[in-house]
Amino acid sequence: MSRISQHLSQAKTAGKKILVAYVVNGDPYPQATLPTLHALVEQGVDVIELGVPFSDPMAEGPVIQKGHERALEHHISLRGTLEIVKQFRATNNITPIVLMGYANPVERFGYAEFAKAAAEAGVDGLLTVDLPPEEVVVLKGELDAHGLDNIFLLAPTTTLERAQKIAAYASGFLYYVSLKGVTGAGHLDVNAVKEKLAGFGQLTDLPVCVGFGIKDPETAKAVAVLADGVVVGSVLVEKMGSMADKSANEIAAAVGDIVGSIRVAIDSI
């Protein structure tokens, strides 16, 4: 069983909601990332989604776009991201890490080479925003061969029939995009999420985590009631962007505070 499945099934057995946190590697500067990842774990994050900076992050809203731009100013690459995971693993062998990014850096790395290097670095899964099941076949073969989970998005526009197909490709967990739009959007509708999740829930045994538009403990709680877990991202990236002139420890503490309050909220369900 993969580290993700193991970790998430433990959470489920314990009756806990899953908390997934997204930050961009190298944002706002490279030294800030490692302490931040550890702070996330200390404050109760179950899965780390580490954003791989890309020049054209098509599915991101302005907040996370800026995070990518800040990291790219420091020339942070996919290779550099594997390096950070390796460093993280030196002291944490438990918390699952999913790399979230876009297809082109992985293409450039080479699918087979990437899967091997990622597994060696201690990565557990990959979420490639612009690789839907139709285009992922070759990469998936490589990920499977190296025991890496392939995480997929489900969207408000995903039909049940299609969700079934996606679920069949997915492992680890499924990520439900709570709204039509980009990351950090402000129009999350809890009732709409509820309706859609009711349908998807029938299709899969995989945990379903909900993200996009979760900015505060109240929303996190309202959404977590409906799902296996929640994903927070933009609110963390926004904070980190505003602290570019602060020390790595200060950034880590501030980001830790945000996820800590969300942890408390979803534990109170």
Binding site: A59, L154, T157
Partner: protein, 408 residues
């Protein structure tokens, strides 16, 4: 690879396949939210494309609104000067709004009408596609927003104002490199957000399937006309076709109806910028490698980490790091030759054609014409070149004046 015999044996209409692939290129590399919209677009397009009613409406608009067929004009004075092949110009510059772009926007706006969507969006570089989109939106009473890189908003002030006069909202994009590729990212984001009421009119043969196919089909009117006109006027097929390649829509429009004609050589002209060797260009087919951007796999300009790099061209319409996936495939199979023309060569051709033929070409089209300057003298006088004059140069007058140090 120059085994030309197999070129006539290929069934080009079988590309892309059902998944939108041209060999290893094309496809649908988008986030999940957009899959539904692409499925919807695909089913509408496939239902309508062979529908006589739809085709009749398209043909009617082409004739009475755009002013087609556009002439195929023998440039006698220029031909005489170069002393080689006879040069015919396909006059897309004479279309309403001044470029080939309108062929596509009329087609997509008709599709939008059938979907019942009330809002259209577009990305634009030079502003020609933005103007063509704003034009059809005005005519159909659709709300229209055009995304344009903040850099291009400055470079193409005239077209920005044209779009505003037409009732469109021009949205300057300040992310990334602030040019066409970033405008396309932003349009994709808008589409994902407003997918219920919005139709995305992509301006070239790029983007996720089915866009490269449907834009090609709408633009192929250029090549169908040129083929017929050449047979009528010269009594035979041309020996060579030349067109500039930004995303590749005017080029594929001219080339596609000739692909099975083995004797017809084809040249796609990319923007060589300051010179391919300087790295400051926009010529992915000459100097890029395959990768994934904007929903398809194709040749791209990128660094060793897979980050898309900034391009350079004097012409905003060619300033794009990718290219339509069908061109990538045509390059690999060897059917089309892709060459590059530098800024200064394009500018020289702009001046030359203006003075020699009394036709002021767009800077994009001037790249194709500059290649004709090289090609024609190597061919014999009984041979024929058709060059696609994809647009008129009025929009570029301020750029050219600026290079001359003149404020108009």
């Amino acid at each position: 690879m120059s085994n030309t015999e197999h070129f006539s044996a290929i069934d080009y209409s079988a590309f892309p396949n059902a998944e939108g692939h041209f060999g290893p290129y094309g496809g649908r590399f988008v986030s999940e939210t957009l899959i539904y919209a692409l499925d919807e677009l695909q089913s509408i397009y496939f239902n309508l494309k062979d529908d006589p009613g739809f085709q009749a409406e398209f043909d009617k608009d082409m004739a009475h609104y755009v002013g087609r067929p556009s002439p195929l004009y023998l440039a006698e004075r220029w031909t005489r000067e170069l002393g080689g092949a006879q040069i015919y110009l396909k006059r897309e510059d004479l279309n309403h709004t001044g470029a080939h772009k309108v062929n596509n926007t009329i087609g997509q706006a008709l599709l939008a009408k059938f979907t019942g969507k009330t809002r259209v969006i577009a990305e634009t570089g030079a502003g020609q596609h933005g103007v063509a989109t704003a034009t059809v939106a005005a005519r159909l009473g659709l709300k229209c927003r055009v995304y344009m890189g903040a850099e291009d908003v400055k470079r193409q002030a005239l077209n920005v104002y044209r779009m505003k006069l037409l009732g469109a909202e021009v949205f300057p994009v300040t992310s990334g490199s602030r040019t066409l590729k970033d405008a396309m990212n932003e349009a994709m984001r808008d589409w994902a957000t407003n997918v219920d009421d919005t139709f995305y009119i992509i301006g070239t043969v790029a983007g996720p399937h089915p866009y490269p196919q449907l834009v090609r089909d709408f633009q192929s009117i250029i090549g169908r006309e040129a083929r017929r006109q050449c047979l009528e006027q010269a009594g035979r097929l041309p020996d060579a076709l030349v067109a500039c390649v930004g995303g590749g829509s005017n080029a594929i429009g001219l080339f596609h109806p000739f692909l099975t004609d083995e004797s017809v050589k084809m040249y796609g002209v990319e923007a060589g910028g300051l010179g391919i060797e300087t790295g400051k260009h926009a010529a992915p087919l000459n100097k890029g490698i395959p990768g994934v951007l904007h929903g398809n796999r194709t040749y791209l300009m990128e660094d060793e980490n897979g980050q898309i790099i900034e391009t350079h061209s004097v012409s905003a319409g060619l300033d794009y790091p990718g290219v339509g996936p069908e061109h990538s495939w045509l390059k690999d199979i060897g059917r089309v030759n892709y060459v590059a023309i530098n800024d200064d060569e394009a500018l020289a051709a702009f001046r030359k054609i203006t003075k020699t033929e009394g036709i002021m070409p767009a800077l994009e089209s001037s790249h194709a014409l500059a290649y004709v300057e090289k090609l024609a003298p190597t061919m014999s006088k009984d041979q024929i070149i058709i060059a696609n004059l994809s647009g008129r140069g009025d929009k570029d007058i301020l750029t050219v004046a600026g290079l001359d140090g003149i404020t108009v």
